[in-house]
């Protein structure tokens, strides 16, 4: 049974279900459980649900320690940028313990953080920095683009025995979607084909998935049939599905809200250039943010970000065609 619910609520539902299922799941962070009637606090008590001071290094480090000691913490961080305050714990501690111990320990934890809030939240609260975490061995990175995936990927993240960066897009917060009731798991490393097509492959991440689908509708009117793929998880990354699509279409456009050299699309492009070169009939095109801190003022903010127009233009570029005049 599925029902409509907003993206952010779907995430909360997953955490709640997992906490009910497994007593070792903890949930802590700043500004959560601030009143006694908070649903998590009411359901699971003060042992398992706690508010912390503004102390990201300690919050994430404590999650590592609690995980080493047999628990499964979920840390509410609100914004990916706040992980930067504690970068050592995220990159140099959590993912390395298992390996350095020769497999003796595991560090199951989830770092829940929002990103991409390009709605006037200005330079330090609007970044898309997920690719920083992609190449870190031992760390997993997931980016749901739909409410259902938000629930399913969070549940999988909590059950995963590794540290997982769970990045939820702020502009998707209130987006409604059909979300299955009860236990619902979405596996890591499986991309979703959001729209099948034969003329071009568009790989889009997070909030860009909807932009890509909108662009695909416009392209359809131009007689261009686009396939849109949502990787859903960046580490592990499902290159096989992308390569299969490119083998069919011969053309690839990547859409990513991050800056060019800081994007996941750059990594995917390199993989396709390496493993799918023979399929390509045109160079790979990336549509990313311009290389600037996200500006506050709206017209500038819009300007630096990818949008439908830019996606459509990129598709026409790889097709070697000009768009039909509107």
């Amino acid at each position: 049974m599925a029902r409509e619910m907003p993206y952010i609520a779907a995430i909360g539902e997953a955490i709640h279900l997992e906490m009910a299922r497994d007593e070792s799941v903890l949930y802590f962070g700043q500004n959560i459980a601030t009143t006694d009637d908070d649903p998590f606090l009411a359901a699971f008590g003060h042992d398992r649900v706690r508010v912390t001071p503004i102390s990201e290094t300690a919050e994430i480090g404590m999650a590592v320690g609690a995980a080493l000691a047999g628990y499964r913490p979920v840390v509410e961080l609100y914004m990916a940028e706040f992980m930067l305050v504690a970068m050592d714990q995220v990159v140099n501690e959590a993912p390395r313990f298992r390996y350095m111990s020769g497999g003796k320990v595991k560090v199951p934890l989830v770092l829940k953080a929002g990103y991409g809030f390009t709605a006037g939240w200005a330079g330090q609260h609007t970044g898309s920095i997920y690719s920083m975490f992609m190449g870190v061995p031992g760390l997993k990175v997931v980016l749901p683009a739909t409410a259902a995936d938000a629930k399913g990927l969070m549940a999988t993240a909590i059950r995963d025995d590794n540290p997982v960066c769970f990045f939820h897009h702020y502009l998707l917060t209130l987006e409604h979607g059909e979300v299955p009731e009860g236990e619902y798991l979405v596996p890591f490393g499986e991309a979703a084909v959001r729209r099948t097509g034969k003329d071009v492959t568009i790989v889009a991440i997070g909030w860009m998935v909807d932009r890509a689908l909108a662009a695909a509708e416009r392209l359809a009117a131009d007689g261009v049939d686009a396939e849109v793929i949502d990787p859903r998880t960046l580490a592990p990354l499902d290159t096989a599905t992308i390569l299969e699509s490119v083998a069919k279409t011969g053309r690839l456009v990547l859409v990513d809200q991050a800056t060019r050299h800081g994007s996941a699309s750059a990594v995917i492009a390199a993989e396709v250039a390496d493993q799918g070169f023979d399929s390509l009939r045109a160079p790979i095109k990336q549509v990313t943010a311009l290389d600037a801190t996200i500006p506050y003022s709206e017209p500038m903010e819009r300007f630096v970000l990818p949008d439908e127009d830019k996606i459509v233009a990129a598709v026409h570029q790889v097709l070697g065609s000009a768009p039909v005049a509107a």
Binding site: L68, F97, M100, G102
Partner: protein, 346 residues
């Protein structure tokens, strides 16, 4: 037996155990150091020795009971030894061998032995303090009366991770004791050059006030003094009253670590920074005269707890054990190269 020993409730067996662990740690660390001369190239990278800190380490660990947990820094050899880890496996790990405690994956700075309660280390100053705090949070909600000991150096007390962790541990009354081994050096910097309290001539334990927890300074060269202070702190933690900051004053008898050099340059242990950087050989000589291991041995013989023969037997056993550990490590095979990609993910 002296009165403070009686007051601590330590019988001959326990006192003998304390001396034994101190001697074992010293022998182990000496062997590690000697490896750089005897088998150059066998140990790669950076090692950090605990010689000089044995009384602090063992005096602290003597207060624990089964189920308690310990986390420490990259200067980590002493704790697992005292907790009962296999010395051969430890040496093999430092040599990078397949038979190592962590199968060669971690090395000197990253020993782990969860079965004996040693949950791990960090190579990054202070970053293990939040880990220990998290383990203490787990211990609190598990409700089995476990306590966590968190070891770190004086250098770590300037890191934000220290402040954040102590604040939360105090607020949540976590069952943890924060043990700062203050050897007055952070690599080649003396504490008073980097710490406002040290610069003002104050003990670093004063920092505890900022976190509303007791702060105690103890002579880390006397295992029974350490035992007394730590016993109080551990019982306080175990009873749910919260953490303590214990400043244990030690003197590290080796340099911070072996030299840092690119491949091709032989690694070795230089002399202590007091001599090489600060031109204060008298400081080092005074520390040698106060070496806690022979001091404690002499004390136990002197007050009749042990005979000289018993003490010698302890020394001989330790020597034999650690020589065997070196042989084991030297003769053990390296891991297969392709094993490098194991254990990345659980």
């Amino acid at each position: 037996m002296s009165s403070d020993q009686q007051a601590h409730g330590l019988d001959k067996d326990r006192l003998s155990w304390i001396l034994t662990q101190m001697v074992r740690i010293r022998e182990f660390e000496e062997r590690v150091k000697q490896t750089f001369e005897e088998h150059p190239g066998a140990i790669r990278g950076h090692t950090h020795l605990a010689d000089g800190a044995e009384a602090s380490i063992v005096g602290s660990l003597a207060t624990l009971r089964s189920g308690d947990q310990v986390l420490a820094t990259y200067r980590c050899h002493g704790y697992p030894l005292a907790l009962g880890s296999d010395a051969e496996a430890m040496m093999a790990e430092i040599y990078g061998k397949k038979t190592g405690l962590c199968q060669g994956y971690g090395g000197s700075m990253h020993l782990v032995d969860t079965e004996r309660g040693f949950l791990g280390t960090s190579g990054i100053v202070a970053q293990g303090i939040p880990h220990a705090t998290g383990a203490a949070y787990a211990a609190q909600i598990r409700k089995q009366g476990q306590v966590v000991l968190c070891f770190f150096g004086d250098g770590a007390s300037k890191q934000g991770a220290f402040a954040e962790s102590l604040n939360i541990a105090s607020l949540w009354k976590l069952p943890i004791v924060f043990v700062m081994e203050n050897n007055n050096y952070n690599v080649v910097t003396r504490s008073e050059q980097e710490d406002a309290n040290a610069a003002a001539g104050e003990p670093l334990a004063v920092k505890a006030k900022a976190f509303s927890m007791p702060g105690v300074t103890v002579d880390g060269g006397d295992p029974l003094e350490v035992y007394g202070v730590m016993h109080t702190a551990v019982e306080r933690a175990r009873s749910g009253e919260g953490p303590t900051l214990v400043e244990s004053k030690v003197y590290r008898l080796s340099a911070h670590g072996n030299i840092i050099a690119p491949p091709g340059v032989p690694l070795h242990y230089p002399e202590h920074e007091a001599i090489t950087v600060f031109g204060a050989p008298e400081e080092y000589e005074a520390a040698l005269r106060g070496d806690p291991v022979p001091r404690f041995r002499a004390r136990l013989i002197g007050d009749g707890t042990l005979s000289a023969e018993e003490a010698n037997a302890i020394a001989a056993a330790a020597k034999a054990e650690m020589e065997s550990a070196v042989r084991f490590a030297w003769e053990s095979p390296y891991p297969e190269p392709e094993e490098a990609v194991n254990y990345v993910y659980a």
